[in-house]
Amino acid sequence: MSTSFVLLGLLATGPRHGYELKRAHDDRLPRAKPLAFGQVYATLGRLERDGLVEKSGQDREGGPDRTSFAITEAGRTSLDEWLSAVETPAPFVTSTLFSKVMVSLLASGVDRARAYLTAQRSAHADRLRELTATKTAADSPFGDVVAADFAIAHLDADLRWLQTTLQRVADMDREKRP
C-alpha cells in the first residue's frame, strides 16, 4: 500500500517521531486523506518488522509517539524500487458511479438511470467549480493546486463518461420502443 512508501519517503529526509510523520504527511499532501495516528504506528510497526525502518532514539517519557524512526538501507532500496515501478493501469472498474448506473438499469429501468445521471452530472459540475475556484485563488499553496488539478482531471473524465452513458441509454431506449 502506498502509505508505507509515503512514510518511507518522509523518513528519507531524516528521522522523525510518529506524530511528526503524521503532521508532515498532512502538510505535504494537504488534499490527501489525513493519516490516523493508529495507521502511522501500525505502518511503522510493519516497516520495522520488515527491516525498512529502525528505532533511532527515544525521549525520556517513552511511549510510542516519543520514539523516533529512521529509514534503513533496505528501506531506501525498497522506496527506490517503488518510485521506479510503473503502476498497472486500473484493471477493474470499481467506481460507485458505474455500479449505480448498471444497478438502476437492472432494477429500476431507464428513467431512473437517467435521473441519476442528470443529478450526478450537476453534483460533479458543482464540485468542479469549487475546485477551480480553489486553484485560481491567488494564494493557493502549490500542493493544493496540484491536488485540485488531479481531482479536476478525474471529475472531467467522470463527466465525459456520464454524458456518453446518458447518450447510450437514450439510444438503447429508442431502439426498444419504436
Binding site: T118, A125, T136, I152, L155, L162, Q163, L166, A170
Partner: protein, 227 residues
C-alpha cells in the same frame, strides 16, 4: 435583482437552417456565465445575438432595460465599442498591426487620444504578460501570445460585458488555463460580466453558473443529450 443583459425567446435562422429556436438567458452585473453544449447547438450564434452583432429573428435581447432589437445598427455598434468586449472563436488580431496597435485599436475607435490609448494598451499587455511582444505582429507571435493579446484587446475598454467564444483553444496546455485564470481575475477586478462560451466542462467551471444549450434551445438537464 434585474439582469444587466438578458435574452428571452431568442430565435435565429441562417437561411432555412434554424440555429436558435427560443433561448432564454440572464446575466447579472459582474456575473460570469458559461454557455455550454455540443458542437453546432448554437452557442456562437447566441453570443453574437447577445452582443448585438446579429439581430435575432424573434425574441428580445435586453441590455440595461433597453430592447436592443429596437436600436439602429449604428447605436448597437456604438454600444459594442463602449460597453462590450468581444473575444471571437476564430480570427482575432489584425495581422497588419503590432500587438500594441491591436490592443489600442478599440480605444481609438471609441474616441480616445492616441497617446492615452497607447499607454492603456501597454498596461493591459503587461497585465497579461505580453508587453515584451508589444512591437511584434501576430504572425511573429506564438498562439498563446496572440491569445493573450486578444484578451487584452477585449478588456482594454473595461467593458461591462465580455463575450468570449472558446477563449482557450487548448485548455490542456497549462498556458491556456493560465490565460483563462487571468481573464477571470481581470473580469472580477473590473466587475465585468462575462458570457463564456465553451464545450469544455473544465472551462465552464470558471464561471459562476452554467446555461446549457441543445439543438438551439435551453437544455435544463445540462447534459446536451436527447431524451
Amino acid at each position: 435583482m434585474t439582469a444587466l443583459l438578458s435574452a428571452a425567446g431568442v430565435a435565429k435562422h441562417y437561411g432555412r437552417t434554424p440555429a436558435l429556436t427560443g433561448v432564454d438567458i440572464d446575466v447579472a452585473e459582474g456575473e460570469i456565465v458559461a454557455v455550454t453544449g455540443p458542437s453546432g447547438c448554437g452557442k456562437s450564434t447566441l453570443l453574437h445575438c447577445l452582443a448585438g452583432i446579429l439581430r435575432a429573428d424573434a425574441g428580445t435581447v435586453t441590455y440595461r432595460d433597453q430592447d436592443l432589437g429596437l436600436w439602429s445598427e449604428k447605436s448597437r455598434s456604438r454600444l459594442r465599442r463602449t460597453d462590450f468586449g468581444v473575444l471571437f472563436q476564430f480570427g482575432q488580431l489584425v495581422p497588419e498591426l503590432t500587438a500594441a496597435e491591436n490592443v489600442a485599436l478599440p480605444l481609438l475607435l471609441a474616441g480616445s487620444g492616441r497617446r492615452e490609448a497607447r499607454a492603456d494598451a501597454q498596461q493591459w499587455l503587461e497585465r497579461f504578460g505580453v508587453d515584451h511582444v508589444a512591437e511584434a505582429r501576430p504572425g511573429a507571435m506564438s498562439g498563446g501570445q496572440q491569445q493573450r493579446c486578444a484578451v487584452a484587446r477585449a478588456m482594454v475598454t473595461q467593458p461591462r460585458v465580455l463575450f468570449a467564444d472558446e477563449p482557450t483553444g487548448a485548455l490542456d496546455a497549462l498556458a491556456g488555463e493560465q490565460v483563462l485564470g487571468e481573464l477571470v481575475r481581470a473580469a472580477r477586478d473590473q466587475d465585468t460580466a462575462v458570457v463564456l462560451v465553451t464545450h469544455d466542462a473544465r472551462v465552464a467551471a470558471y464561471a459562476d453558473r452554467e446555461v446549457a444549450l441543445r439543438d438551439g434551445a435551453n437544455d435544463p438537464s445540462g447534459l446536451g443529450v436527447g431524451s
